[in-house]
Each structure stands twice: as C-alpha cells, then as structure tokens.
Amino acid sequence: MLYAILCYNDEDLVWSWTKEEDDAVMGRLAVVHERLGEKLGPAARLLPTTAATTLRKSPEPIVIDGPFAETKEQLLGFYVIEVENLDAALDVARQLTAANPGGAYEIRPIALLLPDKRVSNTRLPDKRVIEQCAPEKRGP
C-alpha cells in the first residue's frame, strides 16, 4: 500500500529556526530517509502559507490569496507540478477544475523536493491479506 504522511507544525516556529537548528533537523531526517531506503517515495517541504494561493473550484473558479482556510472540506489528494510561475500553476489548476469541479485547490510553492527513491512503484496487494488467505491459516 502507498501512504502519504502529511506534516503539520507551527510554521512561525519552524521558519524561524536558525540555519544550525534547521540543518540539525534535516540531518536527523536524512538518517531516517536513508534507513527507509526504497520505502521512501518523493517528499516535499512546502513554503509557508503566506506564499499560498487558493483556487475556489466554483463554476467560475475564483483565485484567492492565501491558504485554503475552510474547515468544511478535507484534504483528499495532491499534485506536484513543475511550471514557469504561479500563473502557469493556476492554469493547470483550472484545467483540473474543469475535469473535477467542487472544493478548492491550494497552490503552494515547494521549498525542497526529495526525489522518489523507489526502484519499483508497482502496487502489490497487502502481504497480510495473502497470508490470511493462505490455506494453512484456515482452522485446524
């Protein structure tokens, strides 16, 4: 199974780390990343919410400065795109909106992107399911 792990913290706190504090955290994380090896897909560090722009996916999509701040909707997915600038990113978001209206897209610049380290990214069925279905596990 593929999982996304979403990272939450106080951005004022994290973005006021000194370079030494930041390097220390990133150094500790790098050790974990290394240990994870092929388990680790792409990882991203986002810029603060002040750098965010939101596209409301209404019939006439509206661009709003700032992060997505509503609580009625839940985070359901994300894309990573590489384009020239914010206008081009908004254009992509509008194309996606046309195919899938409703809700919103928050467009947030990525500060750091760690590439996918996995050799194979084919999805395997959960091994535990296979084990549970194996004949020797079925009763005496």
């Binding site: 004022d12 603060p48 002040t50 750098a51």
Partner: protein, 410 residues
C-alpha cells in the same frame, strides 16, 4: 520538541492578537500588557498540567481579561473608583469572544495595536522600540542591546512612547477602508525601518535578529491582509535581502559588497519564498515601491554570478520606481544600472550632487563613471571624497581598490 517550547511559541504567536483584543477592552496599553503577562503566567502552569487549549489566543484573552477585571475591582474597593470608568465593552459575553476572534475585529485589533506602536506622533526610534516591546514581546534588555543603549535609557524611551500614545487618541471603532489602508501603510513603513535597523548592523547577531523580527511582523501583517500586493512586496523584499546575510561579511566581520559575494552562500529557502511572494503580487497588477524594490532584489537573486545580472531589467525597474517614488538616490541607482547596459551617462547624475553631497555612493559611482570616460584626475578627486564619506571599512576598501587600479594603469 518539549511541551514548554511549544507553549512558549504558542504564547509568542498569540501575543499580537491577544494584546490587541485586550487593548480593545481596556483601552490602555499598560493594562492590556499586564493582563496578557498574567494570562501567559497562568498558561505556563495550566497548559503543562491540562494540555494546550484548542485556541491559545482565545484562552489568553479570556483569562487575561478576567484577571485584569479582578484587579480593577480590587483597586475599585480601595479607591472607590467605579470600574465602569476604566473598562469598556463590559457587556461582551464570553461566548461571543471566539466568534470575534475569527472575524474582522481580530484583524482590526492587531492592526490597531501595530498602528498605535508606530503612531505618527512618535519618532522612528520610539516606534520600533515600542513595537518590539509590545508586539514582539522582547525584553527591555534585549531591545537595549539591539539599539546599543543602556537598559535604563531604553526603559525610559519605551515609557515615553507609551505616555505619548496614551494621549494620542487613537480611535477604537473599526477603521474605514481608507483609514485602514493608511494604517497598513504606516505599519509597513515601521516594519521596513525595523528591518533596516538590523540590516545595517553588520554581523552583530543581537542586532541582526531585528531582521528576523521584522520578517515575522511582515508575515503577521500579510496574514491579516492576504490580498495586499505591497505587503507581499515588502515581505519579499526583506526575505531576499536577508537571504544574503551568510555572504555579506568576511571572517573578520568586514562587509562584502553585493558583486563580490559568494552567491552559493545565499539562503536559497528565503530566496524561494521571496520569489514566490513576488509572483503572487505581480498577479494583482498594482505595482508599488515595495514590489519594485523586491523585484530588483529578485533580479540580483536570480543571477548565479554577478556578471549574469540582468542590468537592463534592473534599469527598467529603477525607472518605474523613479516614477512612483522619485528621489535622488533612486535616480543614482538607475544611472548605475543604465551605465552597466549603455555605458556611463554623467549628465544623469551631475544634477544630483547638491542633494547627495554627503552620500558615499554618489561619489563612488561618479568616480567610476569618470574613470570609464577617461577623466582620471576628476575620478581620483571623487574617490577621495567617497572614502571620506564611507560608512564602513569595506566601503572605503572598495574605493581604494579603484584608486589602486588607477595607480597601476597610470
């Protein structure tokens, strides 16, 4: 992270919002500040024991307000003063508090607090000191160290500033759109002043921290006014300038000029954030001085080597800045950019001499123009004047290198 570190950060983060709201209740800066201090003390005990509240700012406002009301009631018993004379909005119910926090009240509370700290009646040095004390919550000792004055002198400066704003009659009703825009402009100017105070401090860490504080305040202002392109521009400008800090000084603490800096040492995270904010601002198509200055800083940031700098772009940006905010310094900067593209045009800067006669960069630039035009004797005279006006040893050393080159080639 320890719980205590989280609690500290939550209290600092909630501070502008909480003091802003308490100021609206009590209409007195000292009362609001004391109420907040009391609430913060109780938070340290209570949050450790019971876990942090869902909305730290709302908790601090509520507890702070109740503590201050208790105090005022006690005082009233001793002095027979009816508390009603000291307190406004007594009818505010606790239930409406959280709601107010989310609405425009909260935004105006913080803006009012910021605005009071940089009230036009206050001289600039008092504005910055008061903002650092009240909004950022720095101690008097910390602020005194940053301004290189004694603790007693700083204490006095802040006390005077508080006394002056107390009589300044800042209206407490929600401001209209025009007044709000004016307040935002005044606050932005104070934040940039604070930044420059830190930026000009050399590699002194205590003073350099003022830059971080200015950026933090700018982010706060930007969160309140998310659609203001000039606030995006101001934040971007400071981020892009601050990104150069690791490259601005050599091992001996001497300044290194932009063109000589090791650009690999620039902070790429801050640059990325600055560029993203300019990108956002440009979409509004409402250019302003902060956005243009940020765009100039961004142009430097995009050049991996000094010789890759897009001087034609910088020239055009200075021309735009000159139209919006004409000043002899801007014209001088434009002339320098123009010279990089088309060669020196002495007539652009000669008329500026009278107003820039005490300005190091004027004579440095004019000397460099004269060298290019082959007028060496005049160039030497200008370089000598520049050295006499240099603000730092690095500036003087830079000009001496020009003079050495002249001597060698002569």
């Amino acid at each position: 992270m320890t719980d205590l570190a989280w609690i500290n950060s939550a209290i600092i983060g909630a501070r502008p919002q909480a003091i802003g709201a308490l100021l609206r209740y009590f209409r007195d800066l000292d009362t609001a500040e004391e109420a907040f201090q009391e609430a913060a003390l109780r938070a340290l005990k209570n949050w450790v024991a019971n876990g942090p509240p869902r909305d730290p700012a709302a908790w601090l406002i509520l507890v702070g307000r109740n503590a201050a009301l208790d105090d005022l009631r006690k005082q009233a018993k001793h002095t027979d003063l009816p508390p009603e004379e000291l307190i406004s909005d007594l009818d505010d119910t606790e239930a409406s508090l959280a709601e107010r926090l989310d609405g425009s009240h909260y935004r105006d509370d913080v803006l009012r607090l910021l605005f009071i700290c940089c009230h036009p009646d206050l001289p600039a040095t008092q504005q910055i000191a008061l903002a650092l004390r009240i909004i950022s919550g720095l101690s008097v000792v910390q602020i005194a160290r940053a301004f290189l004055v004694s603790e007693a002198a700083m204490e006095q400066r802040i006390t005077r500033a508080k006394a002056r704003v107390a009589t300044a009659q800042v209206p407490f009703e929600a401001p209209g759109p025009a007044e709000r825009a004016e307040r935002v402009g005044v606050v932005a100017a104070m934040i940039y002043l604070l930044f420059n105070e830190g930026y000009s401090a050399g590699d002194d860490a205590a003073r350099g921290a003022l830059c971080d504080e200015a950026i933090r305040l700018a982010r706060l202002l930007l969160r309140l006014f998310q659609t203001e392109p000039e606030i995006m521009g101001l934040t971007a400008l400071m981020l892009l300038q601050h990104a150069r800090l690791p490259a601005r000084f050599d091992a001996a603490g001497e300044g290194i000029l932009l063109e000589d800096q090791d650009r690999k040492r620039w902070n790429s995270k801050l640059i990325a954030e600055g560029l993203a904010l300019i990108d956002k601002a440009i979409r509004h198509n409402r250019p302003g001085p902060y956005q243009i200055q940020a765009a100039i800083a961004a142009t430097h940031s995009r050049a991996h080597r000094a010789e890759d700098t897009d001087w034609a772009g910088i020239d055009a940006l200075y021309a735009a800045l000159e139209r919006l905010q004409p000043s002899p310094v801007v014209t001088l900067n434009r002339a320098v950019a123009t010279a990089k593209v088309h060669g020196p045009e002495l007539q652009m800067i000669v008329p500026l001499e009278e107003r820039l006669s005490g300005y190091f960069h004027y004579f440095g630039a004019r000397g460099a123009f004269l060298v290019q035009l082959g007028r060496i004797a005049e160039a030497r005279a200008d370089f000598d004047r520049a050295i006499a006006l240099a603000n730092t040893p690095a500036e003087a050393a830079h000009i001496r290198r020009h003079l050495d080159r002249l001597t060698r080639s002569a």
